[in-house]
Amino acid sequence: MRPVLVAAVVVALLAAAAPAAPARDGGGRYAVRGQVVVSWHGAADRCAAAGVCGVRGTLTVGVAQRGSYSSDDAGSSVNSSGGGADPVVRVTRDGAHATCVERVGDGFGGVSIRRILGGRGALLLGIGGDFGDGLGAGRCAGPRPADLRPVLPAAKLPLRLARPVTRDLSGRRTFAAGAFDGEVVNDLRLTLRPAPPRRESRRARRPPPASAVPPRGQGEERRRVAVASVGYRVVGVTGDIGATFEAGPEGCELLDACGTTGRVAMQRAPGGSVAVYAEAPLRGRRPRTVADVTTARGAAVRGWGNLGDTAGVVTGETSRPGEPPCRDRIETAAGDVHVERRGSDARFGVEPASRSGLRTRCAGPYVPETPAFGTIALGALGEPRLQVTVRPRGGSFADAPYFGRLDGEMTLELEHVASDVRVERRARLR
């Protein structure tokens, strides 16, 4: 044990003695400390329809974290050097002796720092995390991370700081999330200190050697490739993708899940587009149709798209014996669509928007982040109308004590918008 401990100290000191990193736009050190408490209850005017009257919950987050942050043209970074948070959700139901207890959060101490869009290098420190699950009610009944993100405390971080400053982030904000009303109270204090001055190392200042950039045209040979691109608009979406679930008897008690069953389903409105791009070595005659390229030997087929800005809808229902079911409906961000070649077929995949994409405000499991897949023949790409039916892959899932089965299918109606078939000359490295 002893030599290892000595070595740990040596490592720490060697790290401290290491030369400085390249210059950056700015940054500093931060320490944030305090408590964040989110509380919610079934809203008197909306709880009956949703079956959540008498449901009360809290999310307590003790924040004690410090670290450093920096930002430059290459991006922003944050290093956490200590502390953490312990976000715990506790939800009770009137008349029931059980409590749903869940440790939530992303394991990064609950603090995240991200770049602010539009502000050059500006950073925003937020509680709740942009990673993992975020802060919400977890698998208990209550608000989703997306409901809380706008009302959790946040502070803009200065990139240039002359002297240490302390900011009081404390405050109280109310929110409404589905059939729940709630508030967020915090007593956080944020201390910011200037980053220690850093020197640019001699090695970083040295220009790259001229030999690193090959002269144009050297080491290349030209070849002809057939290229096709085709665009489709999503004009119809029918069906839904979802999951049915139930809680097993083992470990259900402290999640207040014993006897619960439920279903979640996601539907999407028509909207969005898909672009497919195919490329194949030209052998013989010029291609005339998209199918000539997609079905050619050695063709590479790739496609991307999304289901548009039109939001999808997730509906969820969780029932327990002798009680009115909890019902919720949330709008979700549109998922992405990707296309790839699978043998003689084009495989379409519809990705969920996020891990919590199928989590509603009712108690229930995290349904796995499984894309739904469907195939059509490669030769069909380019036709005026396409119909692709996607189904979730994977079948059963477990999120103890919950377990369930993915089900449903969604059919996308695609209408041809434009296509292009051409021959290009490409450089190929010898």
Binding site: A7, V11, A17, S39, T58, G62, V185, E250, L254
Partner: protein, 449 residues
């Protein structure tokens, strides 16, 4: 050669410091003694089922500990997928097995307490658990397998702020099995860790019930190529001086007093409204050591200057010197805790305090030391702030002039407490701890960065 050993040790320490669940690094493969792993076997590992611990005040002994009227449930639910890796070494070194987990194992508790006026109070809490599952292999090729491999509370099996049994109270009742290295090599096995056993400790009695079944998937074995030391272009030479002292005597204790943190934390959710918690940590010494290290560029420093930087002699100190240190001791001390509720009910708990450590820095011509209790080290059966994994407390601080280190037997006194806030609780630490040191060795190394 010496510097290589130090770097190997340093990498091993860095890999160990990566924490539970970290992927095995190459440094772990070749290890500090230079003997490499020759074979690596990996396989998926799946855990089905849960561990449930039910407890209540134990009739004959609960009065003395204030546990009468307490009852609760703890559940440990494994989550996520896992991978077991077995490394077999050359030269007769015992194999090592690690289990990496992608998910989080969840611990939860709900405890009810009958108040003096007959009302029922509820405390509920949740925490993350790390289940290492495989212990150390013995010379016979067997390793303990299952939750007992946690060896007491080291995995934080039971945590949280509520009244609860300690991990070491239930360790003998945890499901366990043994695993032979041959079975790991073959993979595709199923181990039944189900069962039910009773425990009684500290005024609590209860049942540990497991429905866990562990499935080892198909094993994939590959020969490990002899790892060569990564070729890092040498940039500069560093002079390292390591002064080591033995801890000859350890006297004193630390007290921690805490109450509910107040707004905005809702004290009722952890049954802490009006609660006053007190913990006394009294360490005991079996053996211990303190290290102080100085590092400076080799060309711009001499050994004598580094000795001056560590306070071991008078003289000039190198300009760019980095100094730091660490101290640790083993020995079985005691954690005595009490918690007084608003209604006057008092909970009492006694448990062992295993070892301890101090972090050491140098500034302003003084050696500054902090006694830090590891997360969970001060946990007791009573409610309070010490049960969370985030509750690593700086208990006591102290310093002494660097010049005092010229004495071959210096005494390091830590007598300055402080205030703390942990989730749901706030409090103070007080006390005094004296470490009587004896100079043991001084090592001088030149390493390439």
């Amino acid at each position: 050669m010496r510097s290589r050993v130090v770097i190997a040790l340093a990498l091993a320490a860095a890999a160990a410091a990566a924490g539970p669940g970290a992927a095995p690094a190459a440094a772990q493969v070749w290890g500090p003694d230079g003997k490499g792993a020759r074979r690596q076997t990996t396989m998926p590992l799946r855990i089905d089922g849960v561990l449930t611990i039910g407890f209540r005040g134990h009739g004959p002994t609960c009065d003395a500990t204030g546990m009468c009227g307490v009852s609760g449930t703890i559940s440990i639910v494994p989550g996520g997928s896992r991978r077991l890796t077995l490394l077999e070494f050359e030269g007769g070194r015992r194999p090592q097995a690690t289990v990496e987990s992608e998910g989080r194992d969840a611990g939860r508790t709900r405890v009810t307490r009958a108040g003096a006026d007959g009302t029922t109070h509820t405390c509920s809490d949740a925490w993350h658990v790390y289940l290492p599952l495989v212990g150390r292999f013995g010379g016979d090729g067997y390793a303990p397998f299952g939750l007992r491999a946690l060896e007491g509370d080291s995995g934080g099996l039971i945590a949280g702020r509520c009244t609860a049994a300690l991990g070491r109270d239930v360790v003998a009742a945890l499901p366990s099995a043994v695993l032979h290295v041959r079975a790991v090599r073959q993979g595709s096995a199923e181990l039944d860790l189900s069962g039910e056993r009773v425990f009684t400790a500290g005024g609590l009695t209860g049942t540990v019930r497991s429905t866990m079944r562990i499935e080892l998937g198909t094993a994939t074995t590959r020969r490990v190529r002899r790892e060569r030391q990564p070729e890092v272009p040498a940039r500069r030479r560093l002079r390292v001086l390591v002064q080591q002292w033995a801890v000859e005597r350890l006297d004193g204790s630390a007290q921690l007093a805490a109450q509910a943190a107040g707004d905005p934390f809702p004290c009722a959710v952890v049954d802490a409204c009006g609660l006053a918690a007190a913990v006394r940590a009294a360490p005991a010494l079996r053996e211990g050591a303190v290290w102080l290290t100085g590092v400076a560029p080799a060309r711009r420093s001499t050994r004598r200057q580094l000795e001056a930087a560590l306070g071991l002699r008078r003289g000039r100190v190198p300009r760019r010197v980095h100094r730091g240190g660490y101290g640790a001791w083993s020995g079985r001390g005691t954690v005595s805790a009490s918690a007084t509720y608003a209604d006057g009910t008092v909970c009492r708990s006694e448990s062992p305090l295993v070892g301890g450590d101090v972090r050491i820095g140098v500034s302003g011509g003084r050696l500054r030391a902090t006694w830090v209790a590891a997360p969970g080290a001060l946990r007791s059966r009573c409610p309070g702030p010490a049960g969370t994994r985030e509750s690593g407390h700086a208990l006591l601080r102290g310093s002494l002039p660097l010049a005092a280190l010229r004495d071959p037997r210096p005494t390091l006194r830590l007598a300055r407490g402080g205030t703390f806030r942990s989730p749901g609780f706030a409090g103070t630490t007080t006390g005094s701890l004296a470490l009587q040191l004896r100079r043991v060795s001084l090592r001088h190394l030149i390493v390439r960065e």
